[in-house]
Every structure is written in C-alpha cells, then in structure tokens.
C-alpha cells in the first residue's frame, strides 16, 4: 500500500504488519487482523503496529505485539494461542501507547519436547488442503487450486476434521496451528 493511500485509512482502522516465519500462521493471523477491520500491510511498509508470531526481528522500531515471544520488554505480550478478540484489543491498545500483559503465568513457559506418536499425523496433501482452508477458500476453489476433484477435496477435509477433532473449518485451522507447535523442529 502506498503512503498516500494509507494516510487515508479511516480512524479506528490500523495498519498492521504481520510477521510470521510460518506461512500458515501468517495467513491465519492476517485473516484475524483483516476480520477485525484493520489493514494488513507488508512487513517493511509503514505500520501502526507489528503483530509478530513469536520473536520479531531484532531492532524493530515500531510498536510490537508478540504472540508467545520471549522478549517481555515489548509493549504487547500475548500467548501463542491468543484469540481474535485478544489480538484485536492488544493491537489497538499498543497503537494507543498502552502496554499489554497477560496475568502472571498465563503464557506458554519452558516446556518439554513432545513426541508426535500419540495422534494421527497429517499427510503432505492434508497440509496443503489446510493452508487453503486458512485462506478461507471454498471446496470448489480448493479443487481448482490443487487440481483435484471436488470429491477428493471433501475426502481430505473430512479426514482433517477427524484427525484434528474439529467440527468447523476455523476450528480445524486453529487446532492445526496449536498442534504445529509440537510437530515442528528446526534443524
């Protein structure tokens, strides 16, 4: 978005730069921000607030709301699994110069490495379908995007719901995002 256009943003709508390494998280968080009525801008664009999944890049000068980041000196500190209403409230508060904290001991903390054997892992195809669900796509659009039949899409979506124990698409995306914390490793 150009600077001229962003200046015309109506009051109450904030320009929010969403920073997340994980593409699925970035998509999901951008959606939360947009649905709360704000404008998602590029990571380097002028922004009122940065919403960072975990730690943001060092030297960030703009006000930051972190989700599960380790830096408690940032103005906004929420847990990794904060809901849409908490995220909206936090970015508004931080852009107004307030600081946002969770009550003591509410966030993630230092925990053990979990093994993934306990539940059915997703297949690579199911992960692809999940990414399209996070974008809010319909079954028809998913079929076109992944070049598979509508029947196959329904099959994968049902399998996702079963493996994740979800009843709606939004719930599936949220549960997958939560599970992903324990199913990813960087080497």
């Amino acid at each position: 978005m150009s600077d001229a256009a962003s200046k015309l943003a109506p009051t109450g709508r904030l320009r929010v730069a969403v920073y997340a390494v994980d593409l699925l998280r970035r998509t999901a968080l951008s959606r939360v921000v947009a649905e709360a009525g704000h404008i998602v801008v590029g990571a380097q664009d002028a922004a009122d607030v940065v919403l960072a999944d975990g730690d943001c890049l060092p030297g960030e000068a703009r006000p930051v709301v972190t989700l599960g980041g380790a830096d408690y000196d940032l103005p906004g500190v929420l847990s990794r699994d904060a809901g849409a209403s908490q995220i909206d409230a936090a970015i508004r508060a931080v852009s107004a110069g307030l600081i946002v904290r969770l009550p003591d001991g509410m966030d993630a903390g230092f925990g053990a490495m979990r093994e993934t054997g306990g539940h059915a892992l997703l297949t690579p195809r199911e992960i692809e379908v999940l990414a399209t669900l996070a974008e809010g796509m319909t079954n028809k659009a998913i079929a076109r995007r992944l070049n598979i039949s509508l029947h196959t899409v329904k099959f994968h979506v049902e399998s996702l719901f079963r493996k994740l124990g979800a009843r709606t698409r939004t719930e599936a995306v949220a549960k997958a995002s939560e599970r992903r914390r324990y199913e990813t490793i960087t080497l």
Binding site: P58, G105, M113, T123, L187
Partner: protein
Amino acid sequence: MTDQADLLAQFSNALATRAEAAKNAIVAIRLAHERHITGMVWRSEIVVVSEQSLPRKDDFELIAAGGSVLTAKIAGRDPGTNIAILRLAESIASPSIAAGEAHTGAVALAIGADGTGGASARLGLVNLAGAEWHSSRGGLIDRRIVLDLRLARREEGGPVFDAAGACLGMSTFGPRGQVIVIPTATIERIVPLLLKDGRIARGWLGVALQAVAVPDALRETADQSSGLMVMSVVQDGPAAQAGIVAGDIILSVDGTSTHRFRKIARYFGPDSIGRKADLRLIRSGTVITVQTTIAERHAA
C-alpha cells in the same frame, strides 16, 4: 514474643532467617516499564537468569542486596536449558551455593528479588521430582522438578532452597504457569560452556521441518510411517547447498530415523558440527539419499 519450644514458631523463624540470608544470593534485573525479574548470584561476578524472560539486549542494570545499582553485560544464553548468564562490571559478595537433591514432598523455599535490594519468599513442596527431560528447544535438563507454589513474574529466576538450605536450582515458568526448577546440576554443566563460548553449539542444516504421515502409497518403500517434511529452507544453509527443497520428506539422518524428535535432537549435538550426514528422503514419490555437511547453528 515467640515461644522457642513451639514447633510452628521455630519453623516460621527458620524460614524468615533463610529468606533474610538469601538477599545476598539474588539481584533484580531491571526491565522496561518499572518491572524486573530475578537473577541468581552464581559467582561474585556471574548472575544466572531465566533465558526465556530476559530481553534480547546486551546491557542490563541490576539492583543488588541493599539497593546498590550495578551494570552487567550478557555473557551467554542457552534457550535449550533456559539458562542465560550476565557478567557484572564489578564483583559482589557471593554466597556459597551447595547443590541440593530434590525429593518429592520435601519443603521448597523460592526466593525472588523485590526490586529494592530485598527478597520476597514463597513456600511450597517439591510437587514432583522426576527423571531427566528434553526441552522443546532441544536442551537436556538433568531432572524434572515441579514445585507446588505460585510465583510472580518478577520472582522468576531466583534460587529455590530445600530445608537444609541447599540450592535445588533456579525457578522458572513451565507450561500453563506451572513453576519448575532448572536443577543446580544443569546450571553447573551449562555455565562453564556459556562462559567459554557465549552459547551452546548445536548442529544445523538450515531447515524448518514438520512431522507428517508418509502417504500410504509410499509407506512400503519408505519403511517408515512418519517423517519430517521440509517446510522452508534457509538460503545458502547446508540443506540448500545440498539441493534440499521444500516438500522433501526426510526419513532418516545418517541412519537415525526422524520418527522420534528426541533422538534426532540428540543427533544434532555439539559433536555433529562438521560431520557429513546422509539424508534419506522422499522426493516426488521416490526415496533418494542426499549428502550434506552439518554446520553450526548461529544465535537465533
């Protein structure tokens, strides 16, 4: 007046004496917005802190016993064991620390810094003293010690003492606000390494991986039901140089199956750096082997 023969009064007096003495074992580490966290005076010039709560910066201001303000520089941090160390600009008096052994059901006294040079105290039980465990950040913690007490944010990072006055370790927050202890044995093991290098070396391929189910059609060829799918590749990292691309499913590293996270995390210890490793992986429906050289992970 307290009756010295009364057991409860004796107990209470003993605790108050311990809390008073512990003032010299702690410092407050100043954060922004008038807040602070606690640090343990480990040696006369070294303070141990909870890594997860320490801001990512180099210079800190501390408040020592009696309220004197000191400056300190970061000397090392290890997210794997949640231990960071600060080096003080000037030495201070340090209490001798005797390592204590945690026993389930034993009394635990957790000390925090009040931010003005005094101590705050919390009393509870060792809720659980268990075996060694691996953190989600890849470090090995010598024992699982969970406390049955509450802790304020500002008290995190302080020492936890047993009834004999020995130090069980450093308090920190586990999942869902649970108060856990990083054992003295772990601190004793990690601090010398941090003093030497500023970090704990770990092997690095430059990939983010997600555990996935191997698709049914490939299960027989792969001879494994799960693997780690490459979600992203760091530009110019060892994996990128070996031609690893997003979507590859890594089945094993030098014969170590990627089925168990703990095993694979252990494989990438300090001694893995520089080692050539064969990655067995699935790409476009076929199992292939790619050789990479493990590099050293840079600070996050």
